[in-house]
């Protein structure tokens, strides 16, 4: 399966596709990650390195993204999550933020035009994050592609926009609070809380004993499920930058030195090989934490 990117397949591309199939038939003798997450780091550095015009790095990054998603879905990875835009990125220069939003809108509209191909490959596209922060045209386009692909189930592409993990955790607390508010059954605890007086002080003695929200409630209300097995952050950076902090408890973190537009099949294959090497260890750790 190859994601459509507007190019007619050449002999070399077909040869590459069959060589990849051979490699996948070896790799699939072991466990394959269900979910791989990506932090697309290094587009601006790539543009600077190759003296590209402004936005050239992001365009090259988009092509790299299509290739990487192709490799993942060919290998049998069902979920792929990409960190497209962080809430922190709004602090960049306005014209840079606008450029990324325009690029996102252009690519989403491109996907809508090729809707029949997205559906033919059975890809479900989901935008996750604080979508209220998106501009109206981007939000409308994102809603449209999500509705159009909602019934697809072979592969899932999660695009994190206007997302940070801490915002996601607070959102999960809000959702859990709203769902649990009907389950308050002990009026005496409420009256004790009211009787303590000050509205600005959090009364820890009463709070600790009430366990309305459970861990499973928060886990159900995070934006991104299932949790990733591997997280790849390019450019050699070793931090998560407020991405998937909740979901990476048992996730292998891989930081190749390549800039995002330079990412290739070898990086995806290497991450899968390392996942297979440590599969038993991480499964045991998951069991322990249950």
């Amino acid at each position: 399966m190859e994601l459509y990117n507007g190019e007619r397949p050449s002999v070399f591309r077909l040869l590459g596709k069959y060589m990849r199939k051979g490699l996948y038939s070896i790799l699939t003798q072991g466990p394959i990650p269900t979910h791989i997450a990506f932090i697309l780091d290094g587009n601006r550095r790539f543009a600077k390195k190759h003296k590209l015009p402004e936005g050239g790095g992001h365009k090259a990054g988009f092509l790299a993204l299509l290739n990487v998603l192709t490799y993942c879905y060919e290998l049998g990875v069902k979920y792929a999550t990409i960190y497209a835009f962080s809430i922190d990125n709004f602090r960049r220069k306005p014209h840079e933020v606008q450029y990324v939003m325009d690029l996102m809108l252009e690519k989403i509209e491109g996907m809508i035009m090729e809707e029949s191909i997205i559906n033919a490959y059975d890809i479900c596209v989901r935008f996750v994050g604080n979508l209220k922060l998106l501009s109206e045209p981007v939000k409308t386009a994102a809603d449209k592609i999500m509705r159009a692909t909602a019934n697809n189930s072979k592969c899932v592409l999660l695009i994190a926009v206007c997302y940070t993990s801490t915002d996601e955790i607070v959102h999960a607390v809000e959702e859990s609070s709203e769902l649990n508010s009907n389950e308050v059954c002990n009026n005496q605890e409420l009256e004790e809380a009211n009787a303590t007086g000050s509205s600005t002080v959090i009364q820890t003695e009463n709070m600790e004993s009430y366990s309305g929200i459970k861990l499973v409630d928060l886990e159900k209300n995070t934006y991104i499920n299932p949790y990733p097995d591997v997280l790849i952050r390019t450019s050699g950076e070793t931090r998560l930058s407020n991405y998937l902090l909740w979901q990476t408890t048992n996730c292998i973190l891989y930081s190749p030195y390549a800039l995002w537009p330079e990412i290739g099949l070898r990086h995806v294959v290497w991450s899968v090989i390392n996942f297979q090497r440590h599969y038993s260890y991480l499964e045991k750790h998951k069991e322990y934490l249950k």
């Binding site: 003798q29 072991g30 602090r91 609070s177 649990n180 929200i213 931090r239 090989i273």
Partner: protein, 257 residues
């Protein structure tokens, strides 16, 4: 490392084509053997490099700007954490380097259980809770040591969520607050502090174990933390520790801007 055949993907059916199946299995195991040999070679090079750095033969790592590491966290695989003597040696190196605030984490709480033994072995260290109580966190004379486990991560966040939930219920009952719960990250910070979780976000997190994975360290405290995989605890050496800290001091973060 324990290699097991996978359950997913496009596997050759062993009953339909046994020759292809066994051949592919052979290729797969050979691939992993080559990768293991590669990692063995890398480990040997790292050990030699670590020895050279520890001996002071590599001048680059001579002087460390340790003040840049305001808060260091060390994650240890729980099975390896039973090697308490190794953990103590590691902490002594960290103390000698001048680190002032340290958090020790393992998911099962093995290090917490051995807290007394560990603290008694250190020359000039104080438990983090005691430092907070006595309000001497900014005192640079002693190293503070915080012990954490998986119960201080997501479970602590759940307890803080209930603090916020109670506040929401209180306002809902009085009709003063908004209809839908609406919290901020600052309120979450305050709720965590209110139930005793006052540890700050580490600048650097060193992972001692088989995998580069934070194993459940508190998600609320990892936003911009640099994470470095140091390998298994049994192969730890002072040189690798110095190299990791030196590398951290050269990192530039733009925090998303």
């Amino acid at each position: 490392m324990d290699l097991k055949p996978g359950a997913g993907g496009q596997r050759v059916n062993r009953f339909v084509d046994p020759i292809s199946y066994h051949f592919l299995q052979f290729l797969w195991r050979t691939l992993h053997l080559l990768v293991s040999l590669w990692y063995l070679q890398v480990s040997m090079v790292q050990m030699i490099e670590g020895f050279l750095i520890s001996s002071g033969l590599v001048k680059r790592y001579g002087a460390l700007d340790i003040d840049k590491v305001r808060y260091l966290a060390i994650v240890v695989d729980s099975e390896e954490a039973y090697q308490i003597s190794k953990v103590i040696q590691l902490l002594k190196w960290v103390e000698d380097m001048g680190v002032k605030h340290l958090c020790l984490y393992d998911s099962k709480g093995v290090l917490k259980t051995n807290k007394k033994t560990i603290m008694e072995s250190l020359n000039n260290a104080m438990p983090f809770e005691e430092a907070v109580e006595k309000d001497v966190l900014l005192d640079q004379k002693q190293m503070t040591v915080e012990f954490a486990s998986s119960s201080d991560g997501k479970e602590a966040i759940t307890r803080a969520a209930n603090v916020l939930f109670m506040k929401y219920l209180k306002y809902a009952k009085t009709g003063v607050g908004k209809e839908e719960p609406c919290f901020t990250e600052d309120q979450m910070d305050e709720a965590l502090k209110a139930i005793g979780y006052k540890g700050p976000e580490p600048d650097l997190l060193l992972i001692y174990g088989p995998v580069r994975c934070h194993l459940g360290f508190s998600p609320w405290r990892l936003r911009y933390t640099e994470m470095v995989h140091m390998g298994p605890l049994r192969y730890m050496n002072l040189g690798s520790l110095k190299k990791a800290i030196h590398r951290f001091t050269t990192v530039q973060q733009n925090y998303g801007t």
